[in-house]
């Protein structure tokens, strides 16, 4: 096997066109990344001039929304807060179908409840029990985490013990059920607890004028009435967290107390931040799909050139165990492409990130493991796609048809779905069943079930989880390689 591998490696590195092709793949990937990064500008007009205000970053390092109405009291050490949400109402501005008026209504993820929060600093740790507009009682903490409670609950309770917080719910105020217990690592002794109301914008998705879909988010406001509040009697501090002066009146919250009943209205959301409005790290690797076309061409030629020149007969004469030849070829092309992809990604990500930031774009922060997955995953995607292309080349034996087949199954579905010429439903189906599903490995910001988002491939959300999508490509590659080995054994060369 070592001899075979060395033989195939020698074949690869001595063909100047192939080596140049791989260099071209790196160059194209990086240059396209630079091109798109240079063409992406973003600016905001605000009190700080043309610089967009920085997004708050949550305790787990991701960009978050932290904008809501919060009436709070200091909490020193352990403690507990109980409240009943007597009512949750709201208004939605300019909803479909006519987008012409302001109507009463509560969006499904409008939230009203109680919260223990480290401080009023945007992005600080918190845990909250809440009633939602359409998803029953929930316990959420630190922006990303969400546990469902029951639909009947009206009473909410949070109990702090050290840095663990227990959320409980009740329908009648006497029988309590624990929803979840969470740990807010490093929670200071002096924290805040109180009542909160948030109401995320109302998403309407419309068909774009020139294809694709456009998501528009319209302002909403929720108003909650709280009674049986355990902290009544102490002085309250009210904050319209994350609000800014000059914003529409409807987006500003209010807080009123009368005879033990608290009426609070608020807008905004406390939760994870989606792709919308920010630049994502995988944008810097957008050139990879063009690099992939070059890689596919080289990988297909790696086998079809042998047929064209009759070299395949010498190869098979030298090593009559034909299956091994193909495995050795796949290993060589796979490893070479992985290295090439890694080089391209390692250059493109920091370079294009810097250009994007210089153009005033805010790059959404992601964890190191996610960034590693995006970088290594892109290289792995190229490598497995090269193996698939090689297998297709071995099956078809004619370079043009093999190249076109490989590109048609890997690249074309991705282009058609993300460049939004296809309807969203068809796009999602294609990105589940074709090898293009593997591009999911580049998705750095996940889809959150607790946030109403415009989750379509065009925005950068893939229907499959990153590794599941990658597995689809691997399955295709294995299948094609197995078939190619079988046929190579049966057919005359």
């Amino acid at each position: 096997m070592t001899g075979l591998l060395r033989g195939e490696w020698t074949k690869f590195r001595t063909v100047r066109g192939w080596v140049l092709g791989m260099a071209l793949a790196v160059l194209i990937t990086v240059l396209l990344g630079v091109f798109t990064a240079s063409g992406s500008h973003s600016s905001c007009s605000g009190p700080e001039g043309d610089v967009c205000p920085a997004l708050p970053v949550g305790p787990e390092g991701l960009a978050v929304n932290d904008r809501f109405s919060f009436a709070h009291q200091p909490l020193a050490g352990d403690g507990s807060v109980t409240a009943r949400v007597a009512s949750l109402t709201g208004i939605i501005t300019y909803p479909p179908p006519d987008h012409d008026k302001i109507v009463p209504g509560v969006v499904p993820w409008a939230k009203a409840g109680i919260m223990i929060k480290e401080s009023v600093r945007p992005g600080s740790a918190y845990a909250a029990m809440m009633l939602t507009g359409g998803h029953g009682a929930r316990m959420q903490h630190n922006y990303e985490h969400d546990v469902a409670g029951s639909r009947e609950a009206r009473w909410l309770r949070l109990t702090r013990s050290g840095d663990t917080i227990t959320g409980a719910e009740s329908a009648d105020g006497t029988h309590w059920t624990t929803v979840s217990t969470v740990r807010l690592t490093g929670l200071q002794k002096n924290a805040l607890m109180g009542l909160f109301v948030a109401s995320p914008c109302d998403l309407t998705v419309t068909q774009g004028d020139l294809g694709g879909t456009i998501g528009k988010c319209r302002l909403t406001q929720a108003t909650a009435v709280f009674d049986h509040v355990s902290l009544a009697g102490n002085p309250w501090t009210y904050d319209d967290l994350g609000g800014h002066t000059g914003a529409p009146a409807l987006s500003q919250g209010t807080f009123r107390e009368s005879g033990g009943t608290f009426t609070m209205s608020g807008s905004g959301d406390v939760g994870p931040y989606g792709i919308e409005g920010g630049q994502i790290v995988e944008r810097t690797l957008s050139g990879a799909y063009t690099g992939l076309i070059v890689v596919i061409v080289v990988a297909v030629m790696f086998i079809t050139a042998e047929y064209r020149r009759g070299l395949i007969r010498t190869t098979l004469l030298a090593s009559p165990r034909r299956g091994r030849v193909l495995v050795a070829k796949s290993l060589v092309i796979g490893v070479v492409t992985f290295v090439v992809g890694l080089i391209a990604a390692v250059i493109a990500v920091p370079l294009c990130s810097r250009i994007l930031r210089a153009n005033g774009n805010q790059l959404l922060p992601v964890s190191t493991s996610t960034e590693l997955r995006v970088v290594a995953g892109t290289a792995a995607l190229l490598a497995v796609a090269a193996v698939l292309a090689l297998a297709i080349g071995a099956l078809i034996r004619r370079s043009a048809v093999a190249v076109i087949t490989a590109i048609a199954v890997i690249v074309v579905p991705h282009v058609l779905t993300t460049a939004s010429v296809l309807p969203a439903e068809l796009s999602q189906w294609l990105l589940r069943v074709t090898p293009a599903a593997a591009f999911a490995i580049q998705q750095s910001i996940p889809e959150y079930s607790q946030v109403e988002g415009h989750y379509v491939p065009q925005m950068g959300y893939y229907p499959l989880a990153p590794w599941a999508g990658f597995a689809v490509l691997c399955a295709y590659a294995l299948l094609a390689l197995g078939l190619a080995v079988l046929l190579l054994r049966r057919r005359d060369a």
Binding site: G39, D209, Y289, V297, A400, V403, L422
Partner: protein, 258 residues
């Protein structure tokens, strides 16, 4: 020229794959059109879907098959060495390439007409069931409608021009795998760039110079004033690409050894 056309026609006709590739053009055009139609619903009069464009979505896929046909028509000869015989028998190389383009355009045109007519018919049958009804502002697709006729005839011309463009690229690159890579890169590079670049001025510029985006503007039947380029000028951009590729290919074929 007549002699060259006859020779090229014999070569194309007697290749075993030609028939299958030509058959794949209408089949894939209609198949993707049906899939796109079946996956789309129009819930109200405001759904803003372009029904004509939707029915003709399949062209985006069958252009790939057209590319195979065009690329193989020339690189196949380089692979087998037949090109030397061809140029010995017909030394006017520029004319040979012209004859190839003419011979290729004919069958492509026929296959494209079949595919486009099939797509319009499929759209006529499927789309009303998906909410594209007169009540929502969508009359039944019909070739007597000027916009539909323009989109249909334009799509046929589009596929034919794509064939000529691919032939030109193949004449420049000569290797079939590399030519396929270049051609497909050209097809899909611009749409992706337009999607990724956020600057609207850049987007409009890229749209105007892209062979596929500008070329497919001919399929639009609504929001025409929002298109970065008009339907016929858009097809003109593709024609310019095709002419430039064929000219460059012809010059290189004359200058280079085979």
């Amino acid at each position: 020229m007549k002699r060259e056309i006859h020779a090229e026609w014999t070569k194309l006709r007697t290749l075993p794959g030609t028939g299958w590739v030509l058959l794949a053009i209408p089949v894939l055009t209609v198949a993707l059109g049906v899939a796109a139609g079946a996956a789309t619903t129009c819930a109200s009069a405001r759904c803003n879907h372009d029904a004509v464009k939707l029915a003709l979505t399949g062209v985006q896929l069958s252009q790939v098959v057209v590319a195979v046909l065009a690329v193989l028509a020339i690189t196949g000869e380089h692979t087998t060495g037949l090109i030397r015989t061809t140029f010995t028998a017909m030394p006017r190389r520029f004319t040979v390439l012209g004859a190839k383009a003419a011979v290729l355009a004919g069958p492509t045109l026929v296959a494209a007409i079949a595919g486009v007519l099939g797509s319009v018919l499929a759209g006529r049958l499927i789309l009303p069931g998906r909410g594209f009804t007169p009540a929502h502002g969508y009359p039944l697709l019909s070739l007597t409608d000027g916009l539909v006729l323009r989109a249909a005839a334009g799509s046929v011309l589009y596929l034919t021009l794509i064939a000529v463009l691919c032939l030109g690229v193949a004449a420049i690159v000569r290797d079939s795998a590399a030519a396929m890579g270049v051609v497909l890169g050209l097809f899909y590079l611009f749409p992706i760039l337009i999607h990724l670049v956020s600057d609207p001025d850049w987007q409009r510029l890229l749209f105007r110079i892209s062979p596929t985006n500008a070329g497919l503007a001919i399929q639009s039947s609504m929001n025409l004033d929002l298109l970065p380029i008009g339907p016929w000028p858009g097809l003109g951009v593709l024609a310019a690409w095709a002419a430039a590729a064929l000219l460059a290919g012809g010059l290189l074929v004359r200058l280079r050894d085979v």
